[in-house]
């Protein structure tokens, strides 16, 4: 059958929409005979957020021409606007097509060999002159698992430095800290399917509608199908997410720990706790030890009556009571979701602990519809970085640098002499860039991320990257970015459908991105670049990989026997599936929807006497932590009277290097300072006026947007604009446990510019 291009597109569009409806679809006559005729679609995963939507990449004449949703994946064929416009990014005019080297202040095109020779020489020279800790690596939750693994192996086992960090330190580190301190091991125990069973959604510090629209859509479907479903949202701002809420609690930024404790107070006081579950599965602790009992917890909570918490938080006490009653209602399931509003805080780990507390004291965990569930911002922050062990304190699969046995084990597995791996963890991200500022770190390899826009207290670290004696290499698909503009060498990296590898999303689902087209220009996959770099440094035995399949073959045995075991996830299985949820220790295992649950999680013994075993901790019990309310690092005062917060909008992602290339999206890339009408009135500011926002660290000028969405005393700016960079203002104070910066709260003054 021959069809025109137009008819082909119509049929493809119809097929994609019908696919999204799933089974039982009533198909109109006009399309019944022809849909499904489209071919040449390559299975893949969306490049953007951590939802991990399954997609098919349409290829025509060697170019990506379309994207459609995968109906057999968890997103059921639905995509958001960012995913659907991905083809424009692949062929964008600012794709970097060849290597660039800065000479006399200007970038010049060079050959790959010249660029790599220069990089290897500078790194060798730096190591010889200043030692291996004078070089470092800064990676990304957007890199493929195989890429991140090889980078970590090369730097830690080859170069022998633990100066290995990445942008997941800026987003999910506090969630990891929360999981590890409460449950003993990283990663959520629930899955997306829990959304279909939840009776109560407790959303805190998340604008899900914009940051994770497909998850939000699934939540709305659950709510629309079941009128009794309640949505509780804790957010200082009115957002598209709060508009779906049955109860929205706005509060003074940084006071949500008081609210979470007050909810626990109500649950205990009103008898909504599950005493049997607590007796069997819960331990209690304060500080870093399991050292408290239930009575001590009740005494602790007495500081957080709804009245007291509401006075701290600037909300209504009756709303706290309602939230607790809905969450704790007998016979109802409850699912919590959160993102950066909790994580990007100096008490981010504590805030995570307090959400887990609510589930543990009510026993609302490990059953369909009841789970704490962090939402991830990047497509592979949940997979590649933990699997690869690519943070300064980590080794692959939950192993840590500070553990002698873990280092010995990895030295054997990697075939390097005993004592190769350094025992002292390297600096976390902010300290890594401070080392660059101080001249201790002299050469930095940055892969697939944009710290020149995304670091907090940005001007400080942009200056560090521009030091006369620093040498910065950036591998990136797009140029210029606010980081490549500071680099000494910029290498063109293959993007998304131009290479193959694995992404792991929020629900522990690992999926294979298959290569659909050849890289643009002279671009190469980061894996190739890293292996080339390793060979030139003399570490060829560590990087003997011909392709990503080889890396995966080396990775799987490293996972075996760990709590993150996915040795049953062969490459072929990934290629033929729509994602598999780990643990999956054998090829015959179907994957695990709910961790720690007997009969579902293969790591829980079949003869375990209870339905749940928190095997991440030695005693098999999760910890309810006594975590007091603490203010943010910076609170408002007479000089800096406004709170400043940042976040996402639907149309853009991260530093917008990709989404700004989509013509339907770029008109919304300008960051505006959203402020309440009362504040605007006092300042004499109207929508469209320029305002200067200044903190103790830096300032930026934005156009104002006067809105009822903002809480009085709060200014919001989205994080995507490369011309008006919100992080010139943010604070680089970090959580003492996770080392994640407090992007979400600082004090500023606002004036007309």
């Amino acid at each position: 059958m021959s069809i025109s291009r137009r008819r082909f597109l119509e049929l493809s569009a119809a097929a994609s929409a019908l696919a999204a409806l799933g089974k039982g679809v009533v198909v109109g006559d006009a399309f019944a005979a022809e849909v499904g005729g489209a071919t040449n679609w390559v299975k893949s995963v969306c490049r953007y957020c951590g939802t991990g939507c399954g997609v098919y990449v349409g290829v025509r004449d060697g170019k990506v021409f379309g994207v459609k949703g995968d109906q057999d994946n968890h997103n059921r064929g639905l995509l958001c606007v960012k995913s659907i416009t991905l083809p424009q990014v692949m062929n964008a005019p600012d794709r970097l097509l060849y290597p660039l080297v800065r000479k006399n202040g200007k970038f010049e095109r060079v050959s790959w060999d010249d660029a790599m020779t220069l990089i290897a020489a500078r790194f060798k020279e730096t190591i010889e002159k200043y030692g291996f800790d004078a070089v470092g690596f800064y990676g990304s939750g957007q890199a493929l698992t195989e890429e991140t693994y090889v980078a970590n192996k090369l730097f830690k086992a080859g170069i022998r430095t633990n100066n290995v960090e990445g942008n997941p330190r800026l987003c999910m580190a506090s969630a990891v800290g929360g999981y590890v301190t409460t449950f003993g091991k990283d990663e959520p125990m629930g899955c997306y399917e829990d959304i279909d069973h939840a009776d109560v959604f407790f959303l805190v510090g998340t604008n899900t509608a914009e940051a994770h629209p497909i998850i939000f859509q699934r939540m709305l479907k659950r709510k629309e199908d079941n009128k009794s479903v309640k949505v509780i949202v804790l957010d200082p701002r009115l957002t598209p997410t709060t508009r779906a809420a049955d109860l929205h609690i706005s509060f003074v930024p940084g006071t949500d720990l008081a609210i979470l404790n007050a909810m626990a107070y109500v649950l205990v006081k009103d008898g909504l706790v599950d005493e049997d579950f607590i007796k069997t599965h819960v331990a209690l602790g304060e500080g870093t030890d399991v050292n408290r009992d239930w009575e001590a917890y009740k005494t602790f909570l007495s500081q957080y009556t709804p009245d007291k918490a509401a006075a701290i938080a600037g909300c209504k006490p009756e709303d706290i009571v309602t939230a607790a009653h809905w969450f704790g209602a007998r016979g109802k399931t409850a699912m919590s979701m959160w993102t950066m509003g909790l994580n990007q805080r100096t008490r981010g780990v504590w805030a995570n602990n307090l959400v887990h507390n609510l589930h543990l004291i009510t026993g609302k965990i490990g059953v369909p519809g009841s789970t704490p569930f962090s939402l991830t911002g990047q497509p592979n922050a949940c997979g590649g970085v933990r699997d690869g062990g690519a943070l300064s304190h980590l080794l692959p699969y939950g192993r840590v640098i500070a553990n002698d046995k873990h280092r010995e084990e990895m030295e054997k597995l990697w075939g390097v002499p005993a004592g190769t791996l350094q025992p002292k963890p390297g600096p976390a991200t902010v300290d890594l860039f401070r080392a660059l500022e101080e001249g201790k770190l002299k050469a930095l390899y940055i892969m697939c991320t944009n710290p020149g826009q995304s670091l907090p207290n940005l001007d400080r670290y942009r200056k560090a990257m521009q030091r006369e004696d620093s040498f910065v290499v950036v591998t990136e698909a797009i140029h210029p970015t606010r980081t490549t503009e500071l680099a000494n060498v910029v290498l063109p990296a293959a993007l998304w459908a131009e290479k193959e590898g694995v992404y792991g999303c929020s629900e522990r689902r690992y999926q294979l991105l298959q290569k659909a087209v050849e890289p643009a220009g002279e671009a190469r996959p980061d894996l190739d670049i890293l292996c080339d770099f390793g060979r030139r440094l003399g570490h060829e035995k560590l990087v003997e990989f011909k392709n990503a399949d080889d890396v995966w073959a080396e990775l799987l045995p490293l996972a075996k026997g760990t709590p993150y075991d996915f040795t049953g996830m062969s490459r072929d299985r990934l290629r033929n599936s729509h994602g598999v949820l780990w643990p999956v220790p054998a090829a015959s295992h179907p994957g695990t929807k709910r961790r720690y649950v007997k009969g579902d999680d293969p790591l829980v013994p079949a003869d375990h006497p209870q339905r749940i075993k928190f095997y991440g901790r030695p005693d098999g019990r999760a910890v309810v932590w006594l975590r007091p309310q603490k203010p943010p690092e910076e609170v408002v005062d007479a000089e800096y009277p406004f709170y400043y917060t940042t976040g996402r909008v639907l149309q853009h992602w991260h530093t917008a290097t990709m989404t700004r290339n989509c013509k339907e999206l770029k008109s919304t890339v300008e960051a505006m300072a959203e402020m309440h009408a009362d504040d605007a009135s006092k300042l004499g500011v109207r929508t469209g006026d320029s305002v200067r926002i200044a903190s103790r660290r830096g300032q930026e000028v934005f156009r104002a947007k006067v809105t009822a969405n903002s809480r009085p005393g709060l200014v919001f700016v989205h994080m995507h604009d490369a011309d008006r960079m919100c992080n010139r203002v943010t604070i680089d104070a970090v959580d003492p446990i996770s080392k994640e910066p407090e992007f979400k709260i600082c004090a500023v003054k606002v004036s007309k510019a």
Partner: protein, 95 residues
Amino acid sequence: MIIAGVVIETAPGWAAVVAERLQGCEGLQICGNDGNRRLAGVWEAASSAELERLARELVGSQEDILGVYPTLVAEDSGKLNMGPTPRSRQSDPGG
């Protein structure tokens, strides 16, 4: 010319009624429904901006239409594909 696959979410049970009502909607061809609350359609418009505007208008003007989500967007010119912003009544900050 933009050609888009879209899923239109309706209030539960209203899919067939809304499908019938939308039969006359210019540029929009309904090609199936799930018998309850979701329609599949193909929408053609002069530009992506126009498509975005039409989607916004549809959600804003009809109480029983809860959202419009793209599933595939292509340009009938051999160029790259593009898509409208998904609109939903719940996610409209101006709503």
